[in-house]
Symmetry: C2
Subunit: 314 residues, 2 copies
């Protein structure tokens, strides 16, 4: 394990300037790496780039989505506007295709007379399929990806890149959120969104605008009944899950905001965690893969550690 561990820590340090904490010792289990991670290796939710989607008539099932404005700035801005204006409130999950995607938005989007107005949001946006690789703070994953020459993480998002074209893009991993489009590449505007609920359909990469990823609550989108019509759309007689509301975290009163933190992929804990997944120290395992796939390298999210500010004696 040690050569692999040293290599990946070295790579992470080379490609990241924010790795302030010391690398944890090698030979730990996944749980031990996380337990020993310093508080600074975690970051709080970003109010301007986090959506809270409450599902069901009572809104009791919450999905938390993080936007990726570095990769899709115009879609992220439009989605912020749509959430701020309550665009999705009362709309529905329209499609659940097994081992593929769950998709939501306006069931009447294709009927101009019935479609929900967009308010201040823009109806038309450019395609945002990729960004320049140069200058991207990519924490590289040294493991072979197959789908792309280069892969890694930026702001906790799975990224693939091609040095020959100089482009980088968000990879279609489980829980990644994209903006549905029709035939024209610039026909998405962020009103209709989908998330991956099965094996990563990486063939979609570079064909559609990816806008972020689900941080928590994926089970509320992945465990829904599959749609009976073509491509997993719900038929007219099938009951759709209602979206009670979608709010931008910045619009939610502080007291109501979920208290979560996300492991920083530019921390020293991150490569140590990947090593613990490549070479398993848990007793159950008798074989280690000595590899991790881009879409298996899920970035942990956890309840935020209470700050040590309690009055003594309580």
């Amino acid at each position: 394990m040690k050569p692999l561990s040293r290599l990946t820590v070295a790579l992470a340090l080379m490609t990241s300037c924010a790795a302030a904490s010391a690398a944890p010792p090698a030979g730990l289990t996944v749980a031990q790496v996380l337990e020993r991670s310093p508080a600074n290796d975690w970051r709080p939710l970003d109010p301007q780039n986090t959506l809270l989607m409450d599902l069901g008539a009572e809104g009791s099932r919450q999905v938390i989505i993080e936007l990726a404005p570095r990769f899709a700035p115009q879609h992220a801005a439009n989605i912020r506007t749509l959430a701020h204006e309550g665009y999705w409130d009362g709309l529905a999950i329209n499609r659940v295709q097994d081992n593929y995607v769950t998709q939501w938005g306006d069931p009447n989007a294709d009927h101009p007379d019935k479609a929900k107005p967009l308010g201040k949001a823009l109806a038309k946006l450019p395609a945002e399929f990729s960004v320049p690789l140069k200058g991207l703070p990519l924490v590289r994953l040294p493991d072979a990806d197959g789908w792309a020459a280069v892969s890694g993480f930026v702001d906790g998002m799975p990224v693939a890149a091609d040095p020959k074209t100089g482009r980088a893009w968000l990879a279609h991993c489980y829980g990644v959120v994209g903006a549905g489009r029709d035939m024209a590449v610039d026909s998405s505007n962020g009103t209709e969104l989908y998330t991956v609920i099965g094996q990563s359909p990486r063939g979609l990469d570079l064909n559609i605008t990816v806008v972020g990823r689900v941080l928590q609550g994926m089970q509320h989108l992945a465990a829904l009944p599959r749609g009976g019509a073509e491509m997993g759309f719900y038929g007219p007689d099938e009951q759709r899950t209602t979206i009670q509301r979608v709010r931008l975290l910045a619009d939610v009163p502080e007291a109501e905001r979920p208290s979560l933190e996300v492991l920083r992929t530019d921390s020293a804990t991150w490569p140590a965690l990947l090593d613990a997944r490549r070479v398993r120290k848990e007793d159950w395992f008798v074989h280690s893969p000595r590899h991790i796939g881009l879409c298996n390298a899920t970035v942990p999210v956890r309840p935020r550690a209470p700050r040590a500010v309690e009055a003594p004696g309580k």
Copy 2:
């Protein structure tokens, strides 16, 4: 596309002796490849290696599982015995962990006084984690896998292999079925089974016995409510989905057997289908991955084409 197409067809022909049909022309969509596939490129269900699992109190949700006796002969034999004797009838789904596995069996397996008797099935089996690569009729996938040096398909099952060790094993792709075990490698006997419902957890490969794959009905296992206890197990207050019954297809009257056929991975249609997924001809796509992942290369299953034996004039 042509160089890739020629290469993969050539590879398939080299590693397979059953490719009787001519290779379809290049430049087709996925749907066109399937439409033009000759009838001989499909095979019927094997009654001795197919399980029908009927879920829910009324058994209205059917899951069809194909066993892989070439990879796990003793587990497959035990599972046949268990199904023949009705072992799973009235048992339940016990665990659904998001982006990981759905697991079923006896909720009381750990309570000797309450556990369901195994009948003629064996309580103890050897671990069957891998088989010799030599002699395996592997239809190789030329695309890089990352997790293993060699990958491909045998009897429609996704396989990985290591020429250095000379071993091959079934890969943990979406819908693959394995036999749960405790700490000892030989603690599985096929009574407790699981299937993958998320991104392929290939780190499980070579750590556990894989016994087959789901051919149809995955949505009935993947869309179940996630369990609220540790590792996705259902807690005592959570409602479990009942298994009405599990039957070996050979024990089912002919008239009740589902009429399905599976694309032969040793046919000429198979590499043509992979090419159509690598280089997309559908109008919607503006970029082709020129790659396919082992776990994205799902093997098609479809209703069996009616045989042309109807009496004329009817």
